[in-house]
């Protein structure tokens, strides 16, 4: 794999919501592959490439804390926006007084990961694009700290700092743990059919602090 990168990401908090517990959100123990992909895409993405996550290294012990916040439960209705767009005199906002709910989130604290990933070219790449160019752009951005928008751990209030991981040997927090089964985790969403977006899962096993995603079985 000549086009792989290793990115170290760290932050104070993280929330990788479990789909089964998402009203009162509960984080997975570790970062999901789709969250890792989101972080890389926040740094660099182009229609001509597709990020594939190979490994996730868990560098800090898994610890949780809980935060309860006042949140709104509604979303903007497209139909309502459309009516106002067409000139209807209607109030267009969410009143927090009516729509407020208190929700707790169980979140991870003090996280650090190394994401090992590579990219594949897609058919949307331009003629002048090539893997070398994309890799150079990515490495330059990692070294300079440039990004499209600030990456985050699951939710935007938990920013992820990032840097190119230059260590040859990565020390995880679970080097002495031969194997830890984390159960079924979300692998990502399948967007190939936009009318019917489906989740994909995989059996997450952490070996010595590393989750290997190459050749993992993806369950739909």
């Amino acid at each position: 794999m000549g086009i792989g990168v290793k990115v170290k990401v760290w932050g104070d908090y993280a929330l990788f919501s479990r789909p089964e517990l998402k009203v009162e959100r509960y984080s997975y123990d570790v970062m999901t592959p789709s969250a890792a992909r989101g972080i890389l895409e926040a740094i660099y993405w182009h229609p001509g490439l597709r990020w594939k996550i190979d490994r996730i290294y868990v560098n800090k012990p898994i610890r949780f804390t809980s935060v309860r916040r006042n949140e709104v439960k509604s979303k903007a209705l497209a139909s309502k926006v459309f009516e106002v767009y067409n000139g209807a005199e209607k109030p267009l906002y969410i009143s927090t007084k009516q729509d407020i709910v208190q929700r707790a989130s169980v979140i991870l604290t003090d996280v650090e990961y190394v994401i090992e990933a590579h990219f594949e070219m897609t058919d949307k790449a331009n003629e002048t694009d090539n893997p070398g160019k994309f890799k150079d752009i990515m490495l330059r951005r990692l070294k300079r700290g440039e990004c499209y928008h600030m990456p985050y751990f699951g939710c935007r209030e938990f920013p992820a700092h990032f840097a190119l991981c230059e260590e040859e040997k990565i020390h995880t927090a679970y080097e002495n743990v031969e194997e830890k089964d984390m159960g079924l985790m979300l692998f990502g969403m399948d967007y190939s059919d936009l009318e019917n977006i489906e989740p994909m899962f995989f059996r997450a096993v952490m070996r010595k602090g590393v989750i290997d995603l190459r050749n993992c079985e993806v369950i739909r």
Partner: protein, 303 residues
């Protein structure tokens, strides 16, 4: 309208509280939020965003382009209008709307982008922080999630906080029955005697340009709102709160010049050595290590 912003920004806000509760924790009976491991106080991102929204709403008074989408309360005149509608013809025509949307989508593939832009143009908070618009699946219309350029993390206090329970009494009794056998009612409030909090934020010029159209003018308003966010938010619970520093890092490029953590690390906030119990802002020193900041990044202390 002025131009869409062209630079990435990072910012550090230092704000303090004196004898007040900056952000109550609904899980802990409205005591100030505390990180259980370190004892440091917390203020959530949404709390600060609420203040910014409130300030903009106060200053702009619903002026077009500066409406606020997520509101605390229904303004009176709008309730009035709703009341008028409710006595007149008031069709709930959800079905028709869906039909319309379907038609619109068929005739105009950019319909969802148009609706999104409409929302961004009219609402300051959507342009700034983004919003979730329903994916109108039936009509396969996807206004989707609008990510705004401005992103704020949790604020944390510099030193561990202690929260003090203050018991207060009130002579007016709520129910007549209670009035028969007691003269006062007892209430409680939690206060932090003093704490200095630090919040960090990010502004992505790319999202501004490609998604929401957040302009230079909006940016000025945002800074103004941050500086004044507690000035119009005084209440019995809050005590004295004030923004003490707003340090803005302006990158020379859209993508930025250096990692955000380097800039944040260059701002050091420390309790003075001879101070054991900080009780005022002057008990802290703020140092900005200019030598750690690349020359291409402009630093501005706005307060």
């Amino acid at each position: 309208m002025s131009d869409v912003i062209k630079n990435r920004y990072e910012f550090v806000i230092l704000f303090d509280v004196e004898n007040g509760n900056p952000n109550g924790d609904p899980d802990a009976g409205n005591m100030p939020r505390v990180d259980p491991e370190s004892g440091l106080g917390l203020v959530t991102d949404v709390c600060l965003k609420r203040k910014i929204r409130n300030y903009v709403e106060t200053v702009k008074e619903d002026e077009d382009g500066y409406k606020i989408y997520i509101k605390k309360d229904v303004p009176l005149n709008q309730s009035d209008r709703e009341a008028c509608v409710s006595v007149g013809v008031n069709e709930t025509e959800d079905k028709k709307v869906t039909e319309e949307l379907k038609k619109l989508k068929r005739n105009d593939p950019d319909a969802d982008v148009k609706l999104r832009n409409y929302m961004c143009d009219h609402f300051f908070d959507i342009r700034t922080f983004g919003a979730v618009m329903t994916t109108f699946v039936k009509a396969s219309l996807n206004c989707g999630q609008v990510r705004g350029p401005v992103q704020i993390g949790f604020a944390r206090s510099i030193d561990p906080i202690i929260s003090q329970e203050v018991t207060i009494t009130r002579v007016a009794i709520t129910t007549e029955k209670d009035a028969e056998d007691k003269n006062t009612e007892i209430g409680r409030k939690s206060i932090v005697p003093y704490a200095l909090y630090r919040a960090e934020g990010f502004i992505s010029a790319n999202l501004a340009r490609k998604v929401t159209g957040f302009t230079e003018e909006d940016l000025d308003l945002l800074w103004e709102a941050i500086i004044n966010m507690f000035e119009h938010d005084h209440s019995a619970a809050r005590g004295k709160m004030a923004v003490r520093e707003l340090i803005v890092f302006k990158h020379s490029k859209e993508l930025g010049d250096c990692p955000a953590y380097k800039l944040f690390d260059a701002v050091e906030v420390k309790r003075k050595e001879d101070v054991e119990y900080p009780r005022k802002y002057q008990d802290y020193t703020v140092t900005l290590r200019k030598e750690d900041i690349p020359e291409s990044v402009q630093v501005k202390r706005m307060v």
